[in-house]
């Protein structure tokens, strides 16, 4: 009997083992050993093959992953590129905003040209920058240098000036990008060579008023990516600089005008001060002159009055009524002249500071009784009603003699200009740290035109009443000076036909 045994390796028949019935012998055991080895070999070979297949599969997967990594990297790089562009745009815009704020406070055009700093240049994505003021097409004064040494700046200035490139920059409407690959004109290539950079943007700063300028920005190879739209951003920067120059030029002009105005005001003030000093000097001279003349007049006037009095006394024989009448007129006019001279002298003394005002408490009741006594004859003569309201004020502070002259003068005036049967009122009241005294009458009043002139020396109102009322025109002038010498103030309100009110304010202490 023969048994057939098929040996299969990896699904394929690789052999057949014929096993015949035979005796158990040495050959049989040898054959069995071969069979076992073959079987082991077959199993191992299958294991290696499966591992190899797995390795191939893993390698393919790894390669696929690496391919995917390449795709991811390229997509990610594009994202980086976009992000970089966005970052730079954002930085440029923020820089423009910050620069705008700084430019707002630039007061002079040359300050504007000094505002280009490293932060602005780098935020715009550039490595070097120059900004200069150009008073003409062949002049540049660099005011900002970023990443540029002084010697290079000089070389660039010389190149721009001599090549005529500066004029081109200052007359072109928008910025121009120069690259080593595209720069056609030798002057453009030379500019890039001098900068040592492959790319530059040049722009004119062209304001409507004020000096123009030249802006040069350069980018290094190792820097950030070249981005479309650089020219637009640089154009905005150049326009912003131009606007700032216009504003600062206008400001400078306005500032200059203001300075000129202030200079003229100072000049006029100085002239006025000089004129005032001269006036003060002349006024003092006038006062001295009036004082001197008045003194000189008083002596002959005293003689005239003396002799008139002697004649009137009859010492030189009885006088006829017409003679008495004439002598009385001489005495009356001499008295008037004396008052005039005394008033003039007092005004001159007060103005020159030769009169010292006493400052002492004055009991009000007694004081105004004395004042009223002095005008009583006039009051009674014209049947004028006099009212005094002291409102509890107990005292005034000042020089009693001079203040008596003030109130006698004011009351006397009130009586003079008040028609018969009228009313004159004197009122006192305390107002804070001051005493206010008012003298009101029901007289003819004063026109508004005449009110400001009332306290001038020798001024007399032109109303018909004055035709009949005698006066020197010095009374109110003297009153004003005495009141002011007491650190007081006098004012008047009036309505023609209804009366006037003089208000005297004096310090209460």
């Amino acid at each position: 009997m023969v048994n057939q045994l098929v040996v299969v390796f990896l699904g394929m028949v690789i052999g057949t083992l014929l096993l015949a019935t035979m005796e158990w012998s040495t050959r049989f055991f040898g054959l069995l050993a071969i069979l076992g080895s073959l079987t082991y070999l077959a199993i191992k070979l299958e294991q290696f093959y499966r591992q190899l297949t797995e390795l191939h599969r893993l390698r393919d997967a790894y390669t696929q992953l690496d391919q995917q990594a390449k795709l991811i990297i390229r997509i990610d790089l594009e994202l980086h590129r976009t992000q970089e562009e966005l970052d730079r745009r954002l930085a440029s815009l923020m820089s423009l905003q910050q620069l705008g704020r700084q430019l707002q406070v630039s007061l002079r055009p040359d300050e504007v040209f000094a505002k280009l700093d490293a932060a602005v240049v780098t935020n715009f994505g550039f490595a070097k920058g120059l900004l200069g003021m150009c008073p003409s097409f062949d002049t540049i004064e660099w005011r900002s240098l970023v990443g540029i040494k002084a010697q290079l700046a000089e070389d660039l200035k010389e190149h721009l000036r001599t090549s005529g490139f500066l004029k081109q920059i200052l007359t072109q409407a928008s910025p121009k990008t120069l690259t080593l690959g595209t720069a056609s004109h030798p002057a453009e290539r030379r500019l890039l060579e001098l900068l040592g950079l492959p790319l530059a943007v040049v722009a004119g700063v062209i304001p409507h008023t004020g000096p123009g300028g030249c802006l040069v920005l350069g980018r290094a190879t190792g820097g950030t990516a070249t981005v479309r739209g650089d020219e637009e951003l640089v154009a905005i920067l150049a326009n912003q600089l131009a606007s700032a120059i216009e504003n600062s030029a206008l400001y400078e002009k306005a500032w200059g005008a203001q300075q000129e105005l202030e200079r003229k005001v100072r000049e006029r003030t100085h002239e006025l001060a000089q004129a005032n000093t001269e006036l003060v000097r002349l006024n003092a001279a006038k006062s001295n002159f009036v004082s001197a003349v008045s003194h000189e007049l008083r002596t002959p006037l005293a003689a005239i009055k003396g002799y008139a009095s002697l004649l009137n006394s009859g010492q030189f024989g009885a006088l006829q009524p017409p003679q008495q009448e004439r002598i009385a007129k001489i005495e009356k006019h001499a008295d008037l002249l004396t008052r005039l001279i005394n008033n003039l002298l007092d005004i001159a003394r007060i103005e020159s500071g030769r009169v010292t005002m006493e400052r002492r408490p004055i009991p009000v009741g007694e004081f105004f009784t004395t004042v009223q006594e002095q005008v009583r004859p006039q009051l009674e003569m014209k049947h004028i009603r006099y009212e005094a309201d002291l409102n509890g004020v107990k005292e005034l502070v000042g020089d009693p003699q001079h203040l008596a002259r003030v109130f006698v003068n004011l009351l006397s005036n009130a009586v003079k200009y008040t028609p018969e049967g009228g009313r004159v009122r004197m009122g006192l009241r305390r107002e804070g740290e001051a005493i206010l005294a008012t003298i009101s009458d029901t007289g003819c009043g004063i026109t508004p035109e005449e009110l400001p002139k009332l306290f001038q020396e020798f001024y007399r109102a032109s109303g018909p009443v004055n035709q009949h009322v005698q006066g020197t025109g010095l009374g109110l002038a003297l009153v004003k000076r005495i009141v002011e010498a007491h650190q007081g103030r006098i004012t008047v309100t009036s309505e023609p036909g209804k009366g006037s009110t003089f208000s005297v304010t004096l310090p209460a202490s």
């Binding site: 390449k70 990297i73 390229r74 590129r81 290094a220 950030t224 070249t226």
Partner: protein, 397 residues
């Protein structure tokens, strides 16, 4: 705050360099209780006239020892800043320090590092050294050699931490300050000693995204071949021909720093980040740090969340071993600020501030590179050059 170490910080954003330096120095001096001796760490914008800036600082601080440099942005306690100056003034009887400068690091980096460390060692009077804080030219191509030079003088077990000076992403010229000197192409450092401690935390938060490639040919910071292919062609596979052409012509800094290269050796568990600085005509890539043949390289990707978590982690690592924190310095990669944007960059500083506590004085700057020992076991204790990382340095007891 530590009572043994007095600190005062100041900052100013005045447009005039001299005024900015003076104002920041006055503010720092006013905040520091009167102590002697003092040390000033000064970081200023590269846009300033550097001599005028230091002139302003010295007009207030006189002959106080000073180191620092220009930056790619400054960090004040209020957050990220630009076109400004920040100052940390240390005053302590228990700390000792000595400053040094090494020049010509682009031509002879190892010698430059040795010179800076040797100068600092020569004038150092303390018994115990606690670390060397350095600030070097961020445009130097072989900065790993500078650090090697420093460690050759100080010993490899010495803690060496610091940042690379920047120039506000202009990649033209950076500046280093040492006392009243302003230098370029130099490394400046201060050797600190005494009873204080320095805590360090450095993290980046980037994760691999591409399949790993083996560095088959590299020299210093130049990557020639990956898996036997020119490095540029591999780079191009991921970025596409158009973008590569644009990057070669116009920069595209943001795109390059968004996907740094991550390098990892067979035995290390941390990624060292490298930025591509330039594309060379021979198909090689010039990178921001040294590359090792045989190491694995992958493109890395970052996210806002990972970046903020990295900042938290770095701050926690920095203060972990300190009982009292006197002040914190932050050297943050400018790549992170660019990628995060201003708002998130401010969040990052706020995260650090939250971890260290509101009363601890904090200043810093944005750098072109960061140097600190990594936690990894394979290179533990050795200072590695990172890019795209946030380095938090805490000074205290």
């Amino acid at each position: 705050m530590s009572e043994a170490i007095g600190t005062g910080i100041g900052w100013s954003a005045q447009a005039d360099a001299g005024h900015a330096g003076k104002e920041a120095a006055e503010m720092a001096r006013a905040a520091l209780p009167p102590r002697s001796p003092q040390l000033a760490l000064v970081f200023g914008s590269s846009w300033f006239d550097q001599s005028s800036l230091l002139g302003g600082v010295h007009s207030v601080l006189g002959r106080t020892p000073l180191i620092g440099g220009s930056t790619a942005g400054e960090i004040t306690p209020e957050g990220p800043s630009s076109h400004s100056c920040v100052i940390l003034l240390l005053g302590s009887e228990t700390l000792q320090w000595s400053v040094g400068i090494g020049e010509g690091v682009d031509g002879a980096p190892r010698e430059g590092g040795q010179q800076a460390a040797y100068q600092a060692m020569q004038h150092f009077s303390g018994q115990q050294r606690i670390g060397f804080l350095l600030f070097g030219d961020g445009l130097a191509s072989r900065y790993a050699d500078v650090v090697r030079g420093i460690q050759e003088v100080l010993g490899t077990s010495s803690l060496v931490v610091g940042g690379l000076a920047g120039d506000d992403l202009r990649f033209s010229q950076t500046y280093q300050y040492c006392n009243d000197r302003v230098a370029s192409g130099a490394v400046v450092g201060v050797l600190l000693g005494g009873t204080g401690k320095i805590g360090v935390g450095i993290e980046h938060g980037f994760a691999p995204i591409s399949k790993p490639r083996r560095i088959t040919r590299a020299h210093a910071n130049v990557l020639h071949e990956l898996d036997g292919q020119p490095a540029t062609s591999v780079y191009e596979e991921y970025f596409g021909r158009d973008l590569m052409t644009q990057m070669q012509q116009t920069g595209f800094t943001r795109q390059r720093i968004a996907y740094p290269l991550g390098m990892r050796g067979e035995t290390t568990d941390q990624w060292l980040l490298r930025n591509v600085v330039a594309f060379k005509e021979d198909g090689s890539l010039s990178c921001s740090g040294e590359l090792l043949e045989g190491a694995w390289l992958q493109l890395m990707i970052g996210s806002r969340e990972l970046a903020l978590e990295a900042a938290r982690q770095a701050a926690q690592d920095a203060i972990r071993s300190l009982q009292e924190v006197a002040a914190v310095l932050v050297f943050d990669s400018v790549a992170r600020r660019t990628l995060l944007g201003e708002r998130c960059a401010a969040e990052e500083v706020a995260c650090i501030r939250h971890i260290i506590g509101p009363s601890v004085p904090l200043i810093g700057c944005y750098t072109y590179g960061e140097q600190a020992p990594l936690r990894t076991s394979a290179i533990a204790g050795r200072t590695a050059i990172q890019t795209g990382a946030v380095l938090v340095v805490a000074v205290g007891t």
